[in-house]
């Protein structure tokens, strides 16, 4: 359970300044606000052919753009902050398996992501006067999607921290790998927002779960190579 210590250390350092958390939350809110302003009144129009409102079609993509872009801010700092003062060397000296460092980082990143998401969804509801049909279902999708995002994101964050252009490179290499998560999460979120049947998203949940498992296992195996010298 050494990874919990690492996660707690990260979170304690984070909550002292709340630097990352504040910028992630504010960024996500800004994305939602910009969308709400850009779509304006058109969002409430009816789409006759599909028997929905415009906002129903846009909402899932909008939410996930806010989540992934804000999450990217946190991920890119996750290992970069360890570069200062040789903290990464200190972590590597810990008498634990290297993958414990990864697990610890995953947990602290997930906590930050959840806090950001929990504040973003109410703002979304308010700004679009939106009525979510299946809130527990939405939470399940968001949780599983976030796991996938963080499992891959933390690994690639560790990978890019040793490169020349780290902050720029991370989104460029992370988004293509994330496409399965984003595709399925957006579709599943759309169903949960509008019609709300759990059985309709079984396929998407399956893809997300398989993706999560694959990348969790792969990361356990290859993480040590990303930080070794």
């Amino acid at each position: 359970m050494k990874f919990l210590e690492i996660a707690i250390k990260d979170l304690r350092a984070e909550f002292r300044t709340k630097q990352m958390l504040n910028s992630m939350m504010i960024f996500a809110l800004l994305v939602i606000v910009i969308f709400s302003y850009a779509f304006g009144n058109e969002a409430t129009l009816e789409v006759k052919v599909l028997n929905t409102k415009v906002v129903d079609l846009l909402a899932p993509g909008m939410l996930w753009i806010a989540f992934t872009f804000a999450g990217m801010l946190g991920l890119s700092r996750s290992f970069a902050s360890e570069k200062e003062e040789g903290c990464l060397e200190g972590l590597k000296l810990c008498p634990v398996d290297r993958s414990e460092i990864y697990n610890g980082k995953v947990i602290s990143n997930i906590v930050l992501m959840f806090l950001m998401e929990i504040t973003t969804i109410p703002v979304f509801i308010v700004l679009f006067s939106y009525d979510i049909k299946n809130i527990p279902g939405l939470l399940v999708v968001v949780v599983i999607g976030t796991f996938g995002f963080i499992f891959v994101g933390t690994l690639l964050s560790a990978l890019t921290v040793n490169t020349r252009t780290r902050e720029i490179l991370l989104p460029v290499i992370l988004f293509p790998v994330l496409i399965p998560v984003i595709l399925s999460a957006v579709t599943a979120t759309g169903t949960m927002l509008s019609s709300g049947e759990f059985s309709d998203i079984a396929g998407e949940l399956q893809i997300l779960a398989v993706y999560d498992v694959i990348f969790f296992v792969v990361a356990q195996l290859v993480f040590e190579y990303t930080i070794e010298d």
Binding site: T160, P176, I179, V222
Partner: protein, 229 residues
């Protein structure tokens, strides 16, 4: 010598199989066909083998990356980068040939691209994943670190291949690509199999040539270092 034989064999096979495509293979009656000229189905004989051989190239990247992390021998790194470059070119050709086929009449939209088709999108994502693989390599200078980090990404990025292959089964609603229930006549079968053989050989040939290139580059660097240039 072996290279020359391989080269000759590939050249002959490509010529023969292309001849078969244009002058021997039948054009099946395709219910989706809308173009003025049903002969545009013949793109299929190039499109499918090129797509599958790009998967082959990426599988080589994956295997070479795993072997590199296990043994830390530079030859595996060279094999991985050579296969990745060949794979990127082949994926690009897949996208182009598919796009031309759509425009020629595979789909009644008079367009080059069908944005809702999952196979198109996942293939594009595959292309982007391996472009970012090449970007990871550019972002690191020290050869050992470059090999190690790109090997990790070569393993992670391989998710794109099963994703692209399975996409039409996972998201069944939205694709132009049929799941193969192919009942070809014998001359179609011969043509497609010969094309497969030709393009598999082409992949192997290109990778072998590229490996030779990279080895020469290494030698050059070594000599430069010795002479202090």
């Amino acid at each position: 010598m072996l290279k020359k034989i391989l080269f000759a064999l590939t050249a002959v096979l490509i010529l023969v199989s292309s001849y078969l495509v244009f002058f021997y293979a039948q054009v099946p009656i395709n219910p989706q066909e809308t173009g003025a000229n049903p002969n545009d189905f013949k793109i299929f004989y190039f499109h499918l083998p090129i797509a599958i051989s790009s998967y082959l190239a990426f599988a080589i990247v994956f295997i070479a990356s795993v072997l590199y992390l296990r043994s830390k021998q530079q030859k595996w790194d060279i094999a991985a980068v050579s296969a990745a470059e060949v794979g990127v070119i082949l994926t690009f050709l897949t996208l182009v040939s598919g796009s031309v086929w759509i425009r020629a009449g595979a789909w009644a939209c008079n367009c080059w691209w069908v944005p809702w088709d999952v196979r198109l999108n996942t293939s594009l994502v595959l292309f982007l994943i391996y472009l970012s693989y090449l970007m990871v390599r550019q972002a690191v200078e020290e050869p050992e670190k470059r090999a190690r980090l790109s090997a990790v990404f070569g393993i992670v990025g391989f998710i794109g291949v099963p994703l692209s292959y399975m996409s039409i089964r996972l998201w069944t609603k939205a694709t132009l690509h049929p799941v193969m229930e192919f009942h070809p006549t014998s001359n179609m079968l011969l043509t497609i199999l010969l094309n497969f053989a030709a393009y598999f050989l082409l992949v192997v040939l290109l990778i072998v040539l590229k490996i030779g290139n990279e080895q020469l580059k290494e030698k050059l660097n070594e000599i430069k270092r010795e002479k202090g240039l």
